[in-house]
């Protein structure tokens, strides 16, 4: 799916966290679990999903702030997850990150000026790249290096004409042509330009910081103040100035407006859009607020439990969501800010643990459009109750057993006791189970009573599970540059929207 205009290509990216202790090794947290997509130059790609779905980890892994355990992130043909030290530093100059909480991401002991200059210092900025046309060059003062005229970025361009020289300085630099002194002398081989930059690195960094503050709507007087003297919105402006210090092409914005009041939020969103236009930035905009993403993003990726389940043009996804998770997420937006016009689809429960994701579709445990097997003719309410029962067993399996419970299970006593029966009765309350199904539930409950919660869950899965519990759906084409990963997209099934509408109807009647 690589297109010519892609800035970054992410392929099968995985970030797993292993925390092996000496005694036991738990299964890893699969924060990012096989994600592939491209980020196009100049676009804003929105990344949405609930907390813990892996969106921040994904953003940090792309920047190299977390270590990918598998897969690749390719920029200009190079895998940036596997760079040596020098290359990594070069990559870090090309990317930036803005964090959610401006209160925690700014050092309160540094002035705003110091904060904004910090990345400049860390990367020994500036190294002014000088190209000389029409003669040789002799570089004197200032942080200057000589480059070829064809080099990608040239900071100072000197063109020698006769005994004189023209100087052009790149706009983005805090340097005017007056700060660059050029005298042309002739030696045997022709003209030699003596170039002196009359500002020190320190002065350049300070002036760059002033420029950045101005760019984000702060003023010179803010340079000398400390972050605690600022409001939330101003602090976030400082965070943005810092992220832009090294002129990145690509910026990961991790919930940049979530901590702000709505009126302040609007101003920061407008600022981010202006900066993108002026500087040609590419954004990965991570947020849980779907209305904000709709406003700012060109395309949106929906993430659930480490997987991207839907990716497409923002307006297409918002007006006609394909994946049942996207439908649920959009319908959950309160008020009329939502584009969803149907009934609210309230998801049951919470996402499963990323240590132990479902084997089939990651969303199968909560899906309002889950495919049901043909073996039993049950109402949707009953199917959901059976799913919930399985979640109960799975949760119990993961819960710590008390010493007494461990002892009871060792000597073969009833571990769960009355409370289990109570829970089962509560879950299956007013469900109409046919005898054959009832028998399977009873068998599972008997297993759980003996402490074998995992087996009980598995027993229910074998008999009541469906394709969604077995097969991991791949992203399927839904339209132009629009993909979604749901088994219901296969031709033999009813569509997601129809299924959800019919089931919600059935629930109410």
């Amino acid at each position: 799916m690589t297109t010519d205009d892609s800035l970054l290509s992410i392929q099968e990216l995985e970030t797993y966290y292993h925390d092996d202790s000496l005694l036991e090794s738990e299964s890893p947290v699969r924060a990012v679990d096989g994600v592939s997509f491209d980020i196009r130059a100049g676009e804003t790609l929105g990344l949405v999903g609930e907390s813990g779905c892996g969106k921040t980890t994904l953003g940090r892994t792309i920047l190299g702030l977390e270590t990918a355990t598998a897969g690749r992130v390719t920029a200009e043909g190079r895998d940036v997850t596997d760079l040596d030290r020098g290359e990594r530093r070069a990559w870090q100059r090309r990317v930036g990150m803005v964090f959610q909480d401006p209160e925690e991401s700014l050092n309160d002991r540094m002035t705003v000026g110091e904060i904004v200059q910090e990345p400049l210092q860390a990367h020994d900025w500036p190294t002014l790249r000088v190209a000389v046309d029409g003669g040789d060059a002799d570089l004197r003062g200032g942080p200057v290096t000589l480059v070829d005229g064809d080099a990608e970025t040239v900071d100072i361009e000197v063109t020698v004409r006769g005994g004189d020289a023209d100087v052009v300085v790149r706009d983005e630099l805090p340097l005017s042509t007056d700060d660059v002194a050029v005298t042309v002398e002739r030696d045997r081989d022709g003209p030699v330009a003596e170039i002196t930059v009359e500002k020190s690195s320190g002065e350049l960094r300070r002036d760059r910081a002033f420029d950045l503050l101005d760019r984000v709507g702060l003023s010179t007087e803010h340079f000398y103040r400390y972050p605690h003297q600022f409001s939330g919105g101003q602090r976030q402006r400082v965070g943005i100035a810092r992220a832009l210090a090294l002129e990145p092409e690509f910026v990961v914005l991790d919930e940049p407006v979530s901590a702000l009041d709505v009126s302040v939020q609007a101003r920061i969103i407008n600022l981010l859009e202006e900066l993108q236009d002026e500087l040609g930035l590419t954004y990965l905009f991570i947020a849980h607020d779907l209305a904000v993403v709709r406003h700012i993003a060109d395309r949106v990726a929906v993430m659930y439990l480490g997987n991207v389940v839907e990716l497409g043009p923002t307006e297409s996804v918002y007006s006609d969501p394909s994946h049942p998770y996207t439908v649920s997420l959009l319908s959950a937006i309160p008020g009329s800010g939502s584009s969803w016009e149907g009934e609210r689809v309230t998801l049951r429960g919470t996402p499963p643990s990323p240590r132990d994701p479902p084997t089939g579709c990651p969303f199968a445990t909560r899906c309002p459009a889950k495919i049901r097997p043909d073996d039993y003719d049950l109402t949707e309410r009953t199917w959901r109750a059976l799913d919930e029962l399985r979640v109960v067993f799975r949760t119990r399996e993961r819960a710590e057993q008390s010493a007494a419970e461990t002892f009871r299970s060792l000597v073969g006593l009833d571990v769960a006791g009355e409370e289990l029966d109570e829970t089962v009765a509560d879950v299956l309350d007013d469900c109409d189970l046919p005898p054959a199904a009832r028998e399977i539930v009873d068998e599972a409950v008997a297993m759980a009573r003996g402490g074998a919660d995992a087996r009980a869950a598995e027993h229910l899965r074998q008999h009541f599970g469906s394709r969604c519990d077995r097969d991991h759906p791949e992203l399927a084409e839904r339209g132009a540059a629009w993909t979604s990963a749901c088994l219901r997209h296969e031709p033999e099934y009813d569509s997601v929207a129809e299924t959800i509408a019919a089931r919600e109807e059935g629930e109410r009647s």
Partner: protein
């Protein structure tokens, strides 16, 4: 609506005394809540909405104090130190559930404590009731969860447990201070559904405090918009959303991203919410108001009726004394 309100807040003033100044955090706030009704209080940070919530529960602590006004619950003024008599009639749910739960006691212990204090239930009966409450708030496998510690529950489950704890005292009024702000949107939807069910089933009155206009739209019947310690508009929720009367209400609604086409800039409110250090002598929104005129800086506007449905706004634009020509 003709019956006496369950809660009536009148001209409430809460002042915080600092070394340098007196901050009028709540400055003459008035509103009513009737039984079975959800009333919203919406505003930005620093507007005084949380302080109002705490005042109702008698939770304002030094350096803050209630300086004036009445908080009448069933006709009795709570500010005359009557909070203890109504302890249990009013419960509060805070934004961050992990701060409301004690990490070293099980969820069951904490609910049972509330049941013992407010309803005199003990032992098996209390446990039984605690499990029922957890089931009422939609916690699955409640008989097991009741013995778990707060850290074993997810954020949404913790907030459900906090609501169960609040319900344990069988309140008539539930004050919800940003109860869904720390939660994901799908979990927020679950909690909003739960509160709507509780309101219907238990005839509970709810004061819903939030900064989120979407939540206000879904969860409340009537709404009060608060700015710099003052209620600036009071209206039925759907009326407010359709035709905001006060310029601040309008600006707040417009700055929500969902209401502006994506290719347009978001309308913004310039400047910052002021900290009210003096009693109001002018309209506090005037310096940021796109419609301000000279008198806005000189007169503190009173609430005036805007329509026949009892909607009021504190804005000179709606004051009949200021006819079109005089502005």
């Amino acid at each position: 609506m003709s019956a006496d309100p369950l809660l009536s807040v009148r001209d409430l003033e809460v002042v915080f005394h600092t070394e340098r100044e007196r901050i009028h955090a709540v400055d003459g706030v008035s509103f009513d809540i009737h039984a079975g009704e959800t009333v919203g209080l919406v505003g930005e940070s620093g507007s005084g909405k949380s302080v109002t919530a705490r005042s109702i529960l008698g939770l304002v602590e030094t350096p803050g104090s209630i300086e004036a006004g009445e908080i009448r619950f069933r006709g009795e003024d709570l500010t005359e130190d009557n909070w203890d008599r109504h302890r249990g009639d009013i419960a509060i749910v805070f934004q961050d559930p992990s701060n409301s739960l004690n990490p070293v006691y099980t969820v069951g212990n904490q609910i049972e404590e509330a049941l013992r204090i407010h309803q005199g239930l003990r032992g098996q009966a209390a446990t039984r009731r605690a499990i029922d409450l957890l089931e009422d708030v939609g916690i699955p496998d409640a008989p097991r969860r009741v013995d778990e510690y707060p850290h074993q529950l997810s954020g949404g489950m913790q907030q459900r447990a906090v609501i169960a704890m609040a319900l344990a005292c069988d309140p008539d009024l539930l004050v919800c201070d940003e109860p869904t702000t720390a939660l994901d949107v799908t979990i927020q939807a679950q909690i909003l559904d739960l509160l709507a069910d509780l309101k219907r089933e238990e005839d509970l009155a709810i004061l819903f405090i939030t900064h989120d206009m979407g939540v206000i739209e879904d969860a409340t019947d009537r709404v009060n918009v608060i700015y710099a310690g003052e209620v600036v508009e009071r209206a039925a929720t759907d009326e407010l959303l359709a035709h905001p009367a006060h310029p601040y209400s309008r600006a707040l609604l417009e700055s929500i991203p969902g209401r502006t086409p994506p290719d347009e800039q978001l309308p913004t409110i310039e400047g910052e919410v002021p900290t009210p250090t003096e009693p109001a002598t002018s309209c506090r929104f005037a310096p940021r108001c796109p419609k301000a005129f000279d008198d806005c800086e000189a007169v503190a506007p009173e609430h005036v009726r805007v329509d026949s449905h009892g909607r009021t706004a504190a804005c000179l634009l709606h004051d009949p004394a200021y006819e079109e020509g005089e502005r």
